[in-house]
Amino acid sequence: MSEKLLMKGNEVIAEAALRAGCKHYFGYPITPQTEVAHYMAKKMPEINGTFVQAESEVAAINMVYGAAAAGARVLTSSSSPGISLKQEGISYIAGAELPCVIVNIVRCGPGLGGILPAQCDYFQAVKGGGHGDYKMVVLAPSSVQELYELTVESFNIADRYRICTMIMGDGMLGQMMEAVEFKAREEIYHDDKKWATTGTKMQRESNNVTSIYINPEVLEKHNLKLQAKYRQIEQNEVRVETYNCENADIIVTAYGTVARIIKNVIKSAEKEGIKVGLIRPVTLWPFPTAAFEKYAETPKAFLSVELSAGQMVEDVRLAVNGKCPVHFYGRMGGMVPSQKEILNKIKEILK
């Protein structure tokens, strides 16, 4: 480990991508993640990389498709309305099995909405915002240090499975500064990417990267292959933090920055004799179902706290599978719940 630095979340994403060997960034500015692009604009020329501020988000995601098809490690970043524009490209990337990393520093919607923190893009990220039966690996860091570690890992996961991975945070995480320690050397998964369209030099058969399969038998086979890959990811890539769950009166589930608020709530609840546990999904897809199954019968209730109208709570209900009541508390529009209001909700449920 090297010395500790105090850095903004958004800058750490960019630095982590560079350390993971990403040499190409395509994007279009939007608050609250523009610092990612700023950082890349400064650094990419120094390493002979590519920084392009595209004419739109649609153009940027298709540039990502191109770079990924050529076998490069590539990043794009945006925030909610921009991510909506990228959905067509994401579906094509999924169909063509291209590895890439997309950052969504979520803002509150719908529409242009506002720029403050939100988690209202959960459905879009984990259920498939674009068309077709596809999945993205979705990682939800809750600290600047974790933002760094998961950004590096997101490139490894992308290459290992030829899949699109998404880093999902919010403006709070992107804008905040915390201490971060970079490793002297990153562990990078190396893949020779024999499938990439790098030019045959007349020495091999040409590679074809595409998402079009007109023949239904061939397309079904392609889909079955994708699904098999997704099942494998569900086996191997689940990440979750469980905290204080043994014999908890209630288990709160929250991801990203909201989970940090819950850790404060756990302390104040303890003073009032209430044991609150936390299940924090780090991968939103694949969802950490097993962690919920393990504790499904211990607490009196589950409570999902989100900056949304209630999205992840649906997956919590599926995972708990009727074995325990599942409650929801959420705020919208950029409002963040206070510790006190969450504690009040817990008390109301346990009454």
Partner: protein
């Protein structure tokens, strides 16, 4: 003080965000857990600015502060807006050159430092934020002046390092006011 939960607020351009950042950096240099969160709402352009800083012996939970144990205000509207979030027995420090009003609360400790006036006497208004941080260090002891000086070296670009002695002079004037 075991854990500082600080809100610094004032006008954009008064060095509100950089004051918070310097303090967080100094805390980090002392091996503490720190977070710094700026207001990034649309009100930032030409209007008010504030940031939340946590310096703690334990990992920082939420970087958003529902309540603060120290509030630094460098303009009148900020006192009005944030006075109510200060915990009982908390501390409010104001730049008394710019904030005429005093807190209405009687359950808190209050210090007024004419930071902008002192900075003006020094010949550089931009030191006001450092002067007021000097008072904060004196009252809370959250970080040492030595760590603050090291933070200045880390945060300021090399071409501004010649200003550090003056910055430290400003810090000491606030500290001893």
């Amino acid at each position: 003080m075991k854990q500082l939960e600080l809100i610094i607020a004032g006008f954009g351009g008064q060095g509100i965000l950089s004051a918070g950042r310097l303090l967080a950096y100094a805390g980090m240099l002392e091996g503490k857990y720190v977070s710094w969160l700026p207001s990034y709402g649309p009100e930032m352009r030409g209007g008010t600015a504030n940031c939340s800083v946590v310096i703690s012996d334990e990992p920082v939970g939420s970087p958003i502060l529902d309540t603060a144990n120290v509030l630094v205000v460098m303009n009148g509207p900020s006192l009005e807006k944030f006075e109510k979030v200060v915990e009982p027995d908390g501390l409010i420090i104001s730049d008394s050159s710019l904030v005429e009003a005093k807190p209405k609360r009687t359950d808190i400790d209050f210090s007024g430092v004419p930071a902008t006036q002192i900075a003006s006497d020094m010949g550089n208004l931009t030191y006001a934020n450092i002067i007021i941080l000097g008072k904060l260090l004196a009252k809370t002891g959250i970080v040492s002046r030595e760590s603050f000086e090291t933070a200045l070296k880390k945060v300021l670009p090399a071409k501004k390092h010649h200003m550090i002695p003056e910055e430290m002079k400003a810090l000491n004037l606030g500290h001893d006011y």
